[in-house]
Symmetry: C2
Subunit: 243 residues, 2 copies
């Protein structure tokens, strides 16, 4: 029997590409404002607007669109044209209807693991957008439970584990964000596998934890079944980033 009662996965940039939609949108945004400012300054001001607006808008594409519009007004001193505002809104719409493209190894690994463990999906962001992406991913049936939360921190993980009666020591979380998927779970005494993605939004960046029990680092999701076999085979904690 496995030491893990549940294996939980983050979704965006863990199972499918997401951040690159933002990178592409931001690149179109910089082109739009190129007559006014340098790309670096536009990036910087947009990031500041996103952070400032996080308390109002939370995570997700609609809030990102409103922050882009606000930044465009600010950086053009109000001279931004209506047609350009519409371009920003259209960018948001195309982000919202983008195809869901699975990351490498996901399509084989998730069904394989679903035969051995109850899987859970824990994702943060807009409820509706996340539901649509989960449906489009074709992976929904492999997950026993899908939880969409507004924030991933120790309190929200603790509430979720309590609701499902999962002791933290039997919980493993897999994700690409140290800040959202790894550190809060380790803090509760759970285990966490960090699988980095090619892009990380500034706000999600964090220092990797020092080697400690329960923390693992994999180059890609295809390595997870082997790690789990080894952990369950050992019957004891294996440590560090070199599985």
């Amino acid at each position: 029997m496995s030491r893990f009662q549940v294996i939980a996965f983050d979704a965006d940039d863990t199972l499918w590409h997401n951040e690159r939609l933002y990178v592409e949108a931001q690149s179109r945004f910089k082109k739009l404002l190129a007559p006014y400012h340098s790309p670096e300054w536009i990036d910087e001001r947009l990031y500041q607007a996103e952070l400032r607006n996080l308390g109002h808008f939370g995570y997700g594409i609609k809030g990102f669109a409103l922050s882009m519009i606000e930044t465009a007004v600010e950086l053009t001193e109000g001279r931004i044209a209506g047609a350009q505002i519409q371009t920003i809104i259209d960018t948001a719409k195309s982000m919202l209807s983008a195809e869901v493209e699975l990351l490498e190894h996901v399509a084989e690994t998730i069904p394989l693991l679903a035969q051995r463990y109850p899987l859970m999906l824990i994702t943060k962001g807009d409820l509706r957008d996340q539901e649509i992406k989960i449906a489009r991913s074709g992976l929904a049936d492999h997950f026993h439970r899908i939880e969409i939360v507004s924030e991933k921190n120790p309190a929200s993980y603790a509430a979720l584990l309590e609701r499902h009666a999962i002791p933290p020591e039997h919980f493993l979380m897999v994700g690409n964000s140290l800040r959202s998927d790894v550190l809060p779970v380790l803090e509760l005494g759970g285990s966490a596998v960090y699988v980095p993605y090619q892009h990380t939004w500034g706000h999600e960046a964090a220092d990797p934890p020092a080697a400690q029990p329960g923390y693992y680092h994999l180059a890609h999701l295809g390595l997870l079944p082997e790690l789990l076999e080894r952990l369950d085979g050992d019957g004891q904690q294996t440590m560090g980033s070199n599985p």
Copy 2:
């Protein structure tokens, strides 16, 4: 013992004021565009934009803000000024941080009912905005379960009832929207109490169902305990809109 295993409540415009925030925002929006068009035409075009964008943005203030911006661009043929766009974004922010004001009778009725029944809150919209309003309302502790869904239809109610192992015939839903709170629950064989609010968004409007078993209509929430006592006292179905 009650025939109802759970009494569930809608939140916006059932427990606290919400639609009037939209009505007020829309009134500011019409003032902003008054130099260009009549209030009626602005209302009409904004409503069309909201419906058109529902598939992209879903429900909630951020989507509403993006629809207002899109309508402003459209109705001014792109001549809308940056400062006016910012006014629309600021309106959205003030909606998002508005105080939660309970409807009459709610502050007494919910704690009273919570002593007698397990209460559930079922609300649709932006996850984060709903969580914030629930926290601000001061009512959260009276609810056994809080469910935030992206859509209220027979399928989403059926999934929710199954997840909580509630047979529809032991489920009572209370809300201000015939379309979202009443009709889908009746369709599943549950009971529903319609408590109209002073404003109804066009999209939520529907014809009241003909008198049928399980459908009740109350003028305000303060009348609910008496209705429930009567229903449980009878031990049999009481019908219609004249409790």
